[in-house]
Symmetry: C2
Subunit: 452 residues, 2 copies
């Protein structure tokens, strides 16, 4: 990461002398722990002049402030003392009822006892690592994978094996090959981490047949799957697909959900659904981690589900994000040189773009920040240094005009790089075709354009 | 723990077959992870007929519901979108300014950059373990220690060495002996965990000379101290003492604070103050753990400090808790047999009682629950099975009458046990002296009564 020109609090480099003082004391795991690209980005995005396509922020300006005030007043009137108090580690029964509703909306039937409340979806990943990983244990993940999971896997000294994706998500043939190789090496993976819907950062979705295959493999090989589904309800076209959890019937799949993308990320309320013996281990881990998730925020969720139609707000969000996705895809068509490809996601928050191999997106980011635009460089989504020419672009957190302007600026610096490469090597840039904006409702999972 | 008659959610025992399914997959650390006694208690205390002296609950009924509603309305008006959004991992600058104020009230001068916001004080313990502990590493703690730290230490496979306390807290002579023994064994402790003020559960406070000694030892031996100070501002008599952090000058001490006991536990907002290189590692750990603590709740803290005099509410709490402590001590004098001793804390939330050796408080709890009264059995505060005849009694979470009635019930079953022991062994119970209620303002750190 070369974004050191914008140090955030706590990332200020300490003097060598200071670090040395504690050198012998820090745990081995801290050697592999580097700051998540997304977190570093928070400092950048705080500057108003920067158009940030980097972080995965939902648009919280759409939530009416008067609703917020009204709901909190109700919490105060009905549950002040309980909201301000410690709560059960598993979460309030009433929140778990809301979670049952949300999961049912994607066709996944659970009971409140199958579910525990967590401090955001991120904590599910952390607690699953805590329950399953000894140092050196294998985790299988997609390539690329959620950049926020990378520091978590590193924190538990996991040996992460990443499986290539195509336009249908994780390639099951490569997964089976890899599992077989690991078996022969005597290394049993503890779990497979996957985001089947509108993958972060890849933007692709796993179809039904591949989901069934994945669940079959987990059952056959007695492997746990961690299904991370923060965006499932943010689908802009096409039919909802069954969750791995529902296909598995609650044997080998741990499901991670969150209110961050359908209500508010600031609440830090997520959940895990899992088989009982696993849920017990996650609960023990949570006792150690933070005792319980904020009861105040849990009461807010409960009141929201009581007083408002949560599906209506979701419809509104879907409308906004669908349009923004279309704006981004159109801008990519207009401004990015022809050597570039990107995914057109059916939902979620992210587009994943691939630039020519000779462009390093980590270097490019430094240039982009000078133009006051930010993205997540691809390396953040790999644990093995790959992804150097890739980038993640978020379309949920900024308005239409800023998306277009942000992509225009990125297009400008990428085009300069392409031109520079051409000058140095004598290669000619690909001829431009007329822009083909994505048609709403049309499913174009992966758009590839070949350089001529 | 024999409180299985009240299983909480997630502690429901799974079938052997189910557990076996994942047997080979769970991490080694899960073998040492057992449910914290306090957490199990949450299910019990939820039953209205039970007088719980078990959990360390602040009295949140004292916080005016109308203030809660008013403050949240202000957050909604001024900061709705930001409160509902992700925030920086280190916490909002404005909350860190409030933390600077709170620490200054105990004479500890820090800057906002010395501080990071956490998801309750519990998360500080977790993040410090994450930054420092490899499996098998030594942690030095007090005997007894905070029961909530026990599952955390186990979760990181720490080798916890507990140092006996007297009425002045951790015995420094024994600490030095132990550190020397560990040095000879080639085992370097990573940190010393201590609660110098109104220790949980011991109820004792470390005087100035011992604090200075402890800091000197940490500097000489290059050891980190984790100073946990959730109750420092809840002092009911005597003069405030300097924190270890202030005595050390920010070299080897990590300070853990929280708004849980001075404002609300339901917010789950605490903090760490630490030297910069340590703060960086804690920040990296927090990125993996939960990305950030609820911005909504952080804005609530900021608004509270802006709109209200936080010291006034604290004064009110101190008045209530001081009286409850006195009620509890008077009830112990009245109802407990003479073979019992207990601490009279100058502040905080807990009294620590020692019963005759032949009484096992874990067994006693089962009887107590039948009488609808609960406490934390002493073993929860040790990692080595000690504490079998000790118990922690909380006086902050229940009203005066319930404290008295709760202690009466405990006194009754303890007296029965003493009488039964006398019958079986021929020993006579100690003659009763007239009750000597604690005088307000009088410092009686440890009251010992000898059986005649």
């Amino acid at each position: 990461m070369t974004i050191d020109d914008t140090p955030g609090k706590g990332t200020t480099p300490s003097s060598a002398h200071e670090i040395e003082r504690y050198g012998g004391l820090f745990a081995r795991r801290t050697r592999g722990m580097t700051s998540s690209a997304m977190r570093d980005m928070m400092a950048v995005t705080a500057r108003p002049e920067v158009i940030s396509l980097a972080t995965g922020l939902p648009d919280t300006t759409t939530f009416p402030a008067e609703d917020f005030a009204m709901l909190m007043s109700r919490v105060a009137v009905d549950s002040s003392a309980a909201a301000l108090q410690y709560g059960p580690t598993d979460g309030l029964e009433d929140v778990r009822k809301c979670i049952v509703q949300v999961m049912a909306a994607e066709g996944t039937i659970v009971e409140t006892d199958d579910v525990m409340v967590t401090t955001g979806g991120q904590q599910v990943i952390d607690l699953v690592c805590r329950a399953f990983l000894d140092p050196g244990d294998v985790v299988v993940a997609e390539a690329p994978t959620y950049p926020g999971a990378v520091p978590c896997f590193n924190s538990y000294e996991a040996d992460v094996v990443q499986i290539e994706m195509d336009e249908h998500g994780m390639r099951i043939d490569l997964l089976e090959e890899t599992l077989e190789r690991l078996r022969l090496e005597g290394r049993r993976p503890k779990f497979i981490y996957t985001i089947p819907n509108f993958q972060n950062p890849g933007g692709v979705t796993m179809p039904l047949d591949r989901r069934k295959e994945l669940v079959r493999i987990a059952n056959e090989r007695e492997l746990v799957i961690l299904e991370d589904n923060p965006y499932g309800l943010l689908r802009y076209e096409g039919e909802a697909l069954p969750t791995l959890y529902s296909l598995d019937g609650g044997r080998y799949v741990i499901y991670a959900g969150t209110f961050s993308k359908i209500l508010s990320a600031g609440l830090r309320i997520g959940w895990a659904a899992a088989p009982a013996p696993i849920l017990e281990r996650l609960n023990l881990g949570k006792q150690a981690a933070d005792l319980c998730s904020s009861p105040l925020n849990q009461y807010f969720v409960v009141e929201y589900f009581k007083q408002r139609d949560w599906r209506r707000y979701l419809d509104e969000l879907r409308g906004i994000y669908r349009r923004r996705r279309d704006v981004m895809v159109a801008a990519l068509e207009e401004f990015l040189p022809h050597e570039t490809t990107w995914t057109v996601p059916q939902g979620g928050l992210f587009v994943w773009a691939k630039l020519p191999d000779y462009i390093d997106t980590t270097d490019l980011l430094a240039r982009a920040l000078r133009e006051h635009v930010a993205f997540v460089p691809g390396r953040a989504a790999y644990l093995d240094g790959r992804g150097g020419s890739e980038m993640r672009l978020n379309f949920s957190g900024v308005g239409d005009d800023d998306i277009r302007e942000g992509i225009r600026r990125i297009g400008k610096i990428v085009s300069e790089q392409v031109a520079l490469y051409g000058t140095l090597t004598g290669a000619k840039p690909a001829p431009r075709k007329a822009a083909e904006p994505a048609v709403e409702g049309q499913v174009v999972p992966l758009r590839r354009r070949e350089a001529s």
